[in-house]
Amino acid sequence: MRLSTPALGSSKLRAPARPRAVVSRSTWSLALERFAYNRLALAGLALLGVLILIAVFANFLAPYNPIKRDFSITMAAPSNLHLMGTDPLGRDEFSRVLYGGRLSLYVGLASVILAMAFGVPMGLLSGYFGGWVDGTLMRLVDLILAFPGIIFAIWLVAMLGPGVNQVILANALFNMPGFARIIRGSVLTMKESDYVLAARGLGAGDLRILTSHILPNVLAPIVVLASLTVSDAILTAATLSFLGLGAQPPTPEWGALLSDGRPFLRNAWWLTVFPGIMLTLTVLASNIVGDGLRDALDPRKVLKRSPAG
């Protein structure tokens, strides 16, 4: 919070300006300001934005149909006609990479949203009610964390059968504990605060206290964790697809594209280089944005520069 000082220096005589009240600003507007001054984070956001736009408008940007085979031009090296070359079935790699982003980003976002849908209520209930609710839910969290994440995902998908939805589910399940834990921790400190006591004194019920008083105040760690989890989820999804457990042919997905290109490493490098670059850029961008959000939303960070002063 900043104290704003009334403008001085005017030569005219007038009654001393009454000091204005402390300008109260929400965490979010302060965070936005901090984020806006973080050049690296802005660059990451711009890159992520471009990648999302490419994925969303893939149907307009892609020069060819990503699953249409053309056996007259198989395994062609990158050229003006095919920017990223063609695959062994004569499909345009550039179009496939553009479309591939759709699935990778979708899986990343969907996994995180689902993980939050499970994890946030778990953390809220666990922290707020304590006792056996807390005990039970946290043992469940411990159990999930006792498995190595990727092995757990592979095992689950092996049981459920390969597919994008199974990958999302597996991803969500093993990212859920992170949300549950971090929210539980915040709620534990939050529920003892005066404003919760005040709300209770005014007759607010548990549900109301949880949803309209506690939840808005634990949003910051949720946002940070979510943004950092997206990149993890994208990576895991790509890994599972690479192992043949995610997106199934002929659907283009970056992990699957890399897996398809792998046998042709010796004679068609473009099939493994380009999808990997896109994947790395996406993960890099969301990591940078996540780091930026963490710095921006951390209340301990002092605002280094402010536009007013």
Partner: protein, 307 residues
């Protein structure tokens, strides 16, 4: 110390039991169809199916079945592969050394590279060297393991021919898989060491050491680094655990026949007995590694023991 180890061991026992139960129940509930057929495979003979039903007590209630399964697991009997008919444990024993060799070499690589990066970037803080290393480490943390593996293979094995395309257990054969698996973690460790090192280098006892004329290399490597190592020990344990997961992918890229490759091949052939045994085995190893990490952490930092 001993009580801490015993207590920590006792906590792990129920965890292992629950783990075995989860693995057991998931296979029974998530995979549709006759459990005997699932374990025996599509091509199993009628006699083999009857044998599986009898061995696993498939006509008995689910809880009894779990008891039988648990008994088998404790005795080291994880069933037979539905494809090769070998005992699953035999295949695990063949695969284990490969995974161990890979994770060990990677662990050494991570420690050496991570500590070097951390110390160098902290000592020459905010110089071009620091910035270059930091950019590289962010980049390598964002790079998917399997892609890094493919790119290393493309450059060093396919194009330059310095290393074999298919890995083996020789130092040359393990080189690319080790770098693939370890670089991301090494970068992470480097960041951690850098942050801790910066704290320590600014502390009073380092200033005191310098003031009394201790050689600079000794100040950094002996006085400062030693106190940076405490958080490293914790991270190290979890790193090994994480490596077990990452090894699955790395092994499959370089054709190393470890536990990961075994699982992937088994999934491809729907060899559920092998998948089940493999996952169980990896998870138990993972738990054990975490246990050792916790204990060694308590060994380094006495405060942990007293909690």
């Amino acid at each position: 110390m001993l009580t801490y180890i015993v207590r920590r061991l006792l906590i792990s026992i129920p965890l292992v039991l629950v783990l075995v139960f989860v693995v057991f129940i998931l296979l029974r509930t998530l995979v549709p169809g006759d459990p005997a057929l699932i374990l025996g495979g599509e091509t199993a003979s009628v006699e083999r199916l009857a044998q599986i039903r009898q061995e696993q007590g498939l006509d008995k209630p689910l809880l009894v079945q779990f008891g039988i399964f648990l008994g088998h697991v404790v005795q080291g009997n994880l069933g037979r592969s539905s494809i090769t008919n070998e005992p699953v444990t035999e295949r695990l024993w063949v695969a284990l050394p490969v995974t161990l060799a890979l994770t060990t070499s990677t662990f050494i690589y991570i420690m050496i590279l991570g500590l070097t990066i951390g110390v160098v970037t902290a000592y020459w803080q905010d110089t071009w060297l620091d910035n270059v290393v930091r950019v590289l480490s962010v980049l390598s943390a964002s790079m998917p393991t399997f892609w890094l593996g493919l790119m290393l293979m493309l450059l060093f094995a396919v194009t330059l021919g310095w290393f074999p395309v298919i890995g083996d257990l020789s130092p040359r054969g393990l080189f690319l898989p080790t770098i693939t698996l370890g670089t991301g973690s090494a970068a992470g460790l480097g960041r951690l060491v850098r942050a801790n090192m910066l704290d320590v280098l600014g502390s009073d006892y380092v200033r005191a050491a310098r003031a009394k004329g201790v050689r600079e290399s000794r100040v950094v490597l002996s006085h400062a680094l030693r106190n940076t190592l405490i958080p490293v020990v914790t991270i190290a344990g979890f790193t090994i655990g994480g490596l077990l997961g990452g090894a699955v992918v790395t092994e499959s890229i370089f054709g190393l026949g470890g536990l990961g490759t075994l699982a992937i091949i088994a999934i491809g052939t729907r060899d559920y007995a092998v998948i089940q045994g493999d996952v169980l085995f990896i998870c138990v190893v993972y738990l054990m590694v975490n246990l050792i990490a916790d204990v060694s952490y308590a060994f380094v930092d006495p405060r942990v023991r007293l909690q």
